[in-house]
């Protein structure tokens, strides 16, 4: 059989007339897009084991990351079929958790509102951290309570913290450890609510 030009051999009508798919509803009319179809997870540079960040069921997740031009991106998050908790399944929130990471609404810069200010301003992370450290020290000094009702309490009631139920154990541990050492006791999380 003489060699046909590629575009003719791939021409759907030619394939339809010469192949098994005489009605042109299948093999004969497959497009390049269709021929190239493959799950994008196959192109991931790494697959990382994770846990869903929403409720406390603790469904297993697999996180697919692809690198392009030196930038990493999450390309898919889906259930980990090995998990005895979830067997690979996810609820709508878990199924949306890639978007939790990649959403356009993610904060990426520090925003600062000065006292009595009417708008957000930008601040470098380093400057913000310095300012926060200064305020913690000053407030702690100003509100230090060595005694209460005649008994030693060694604390400040001037600084409080709320949050932890969405954070890791290790993060909660450092929160409790640092604040306790600083004498702040109003350290709470959603478990109270």
């Amino acid at each position: 059989m003489p060699q046909l030009p590629g575009w003719i051999a791939n021409w759907p009508a030619y394939r339809q007339l010469t192949g098994r798919d005489r009605l042109g509803r299948g093999e004969a009319v497959r497009s390049p897009h269709t021929e190239a179809a493959a799950p994008r997870t196959q192109a991931a540079d790494r697959v990382v084991s994770s846990i869903c960040p929403y409720c406390a069921v603790g469904c297993g997740q697999r996180v697919y990351v692809a690198s392009a031009g030196g930038r990493d991106a999450v390309t898919q998050i889906e259930g980990d079929p090995d998990s005895p908790v979830s067997r690979g399944r996810l609820c709508p929130k878990g199924a949306a958790s890639k978007q939790l990471v990649t959403q356009p609404g993610r904060l990426t810069k520090v925003a600062y509102r000065r006292p009595y200010g009417t708008a957000w301003e930008q601040l470098s992370l380093d400057q913000a951290m310095d300012m926060i450290a200064d305020r913690v020290i000053a407030t702690r000094r100003d509100t230090w309570q060595e005694h209460h009702g005649g008994q030693r309490v060694a604390r400040t009631l001037g600084i409080a913290s709320l949050g932890g139920a969405t954070l890791d154990n290790e993060e909660n541990y450092l929160i409790k450890k640092l604040w306790t050492a600083l004498g702040a006791i109003q350290i709470e999380n959603q478990a109270r609510i």
Partner: protein, 305 residues
């Protein structure tokens, strides 16, 4: 010539209507093609969580609704409304008042309060049926709709020109054009995932296994056993929908166990492939169709460069 290469010679009946044992072979795939796969959506265990909707949109990268377009529909917990170009799974929520059961020993899926009947809340995740005889595919003049080696039906976005013949042909009202690009879109049963040996995103996510994916023949067996169980547990009106190869679409690749009549879920009670009588029409329109197909094929070849 073998009958394999002459699908129309035996009369178009089995290619366009009636039972068809091997849809992929009918579409020209060699004997080594994969088994036909499908969805069995068992609505008796659907909890209406919509994980299928989200997993589908996330995997397939479906566009978001326009900003400001989000509003409560007031239709129970359904704010998706219908299957469409950007929603390839749709969970229907049907609130019913049904008679309270007289026999207190009988299991029931309902609230036991007696006055004025009991409450029943049906949920069902709808999807493209991937018909054995898919009218969308049969009417598509460009070859954009295609039967895959898995027996499923997909739209090829690099071919579709937005003519929308398929939209009016679908007996279920599934396939839909996108407002922005004008092309037709619908469930692909995650064709890309199937090619990689993965199950479709919706079935993988489904928390209660209401959506099951697998070889269609196996799913039909599972479904008949399940139906008997459900019927015996106080749901005599439960039925399979789309599982019968003798139905008007030759059986669906995505079929359902329903607890009530199809109309209750917004499904046509007796769908018939709209191209059932196509051979007769071809006698009148064959020439015109061939010219049109050739013209589009040239356009297709041109775009390849």
């Amino acid at each position: 010539m073998t009958s394999d290469s002459m699908p129309v010679a035996d009369g178009a009946r089995n290619s366009l209507y009636g039972p068809l044992a091997d849809v992929a072979a009918d579409a020209g795939y060699p004997g080594s093609h994969p088994e036909r796969v499908g969805f069995f959506t068992d609505t008796s265990v659907c909890i209406g969580c919509k994980a299928c909707e989200v997993a589908c949109k996330e995997w397939n990268g479906l566009p978001d609704p326009e900003a400001g377009a989000l509003a409560l529909t007031g239709m129970s917990y359904d704010n998706t409304g219908a299957l469409g170009s950007n929603s390839w799974r749709h969970v229907a929520f049907i609130e019913q008042t049904v008679p309270s059961r007289a026999d207190p020993g009988e299991p029931e899926l309902i609230s036991a309060v007696a006055d004025g009947g009991a409450t029943r809340w049906l949920m069902a995740s709808d999807v493209c049926k991937h018909c054995t005889h898919a009218a969308c595919l049969d009417v598509c003049p460009t070859g954009a709709l295609v039967r895959t080696e898995f027996g499923t039906v997909i739209v090829q976005p690099d071919v579709c020109n937005g003519c929308a013949y398929c939209v009016s042909a679908c007996p279920f009202g599934v396939i839909d054009r996108r407002d922005d690009d004008g092309r037709a879109w619908k469930c692909t049963m995650c064709y890309d995932r199937l090619r990689g040996g993965l199950e479709p995103a919706c079935a993988k996510a489904c928390p209660t296994d209401s959506i099951q994916f697998g070889p269609l023949a196996e799913l039909r067996e599972i479904a008949s056993v399940r139906l008997a169980d459900v019927q015996a547990s106080g749901h005599p009106e439960a039925r399979l929908y789309g599982a019968d190869p003798d139905d008007g679409i030759g059986g669906a690749g995505a079929f359902f166990l329903l607890l009530d009549a199809p109309e209750v879920y917004g499904l046509p009670p007796d769908p018939v492939v709209t191209t059932k009588d196509l051979p007769a029409m071809w006698r009148w329109a064959g020439t015109a169709a061939a010219v049109l197909a050739a013209g589009v094929a040239v356009a297709f070849a041109g775009r390849r460069r």
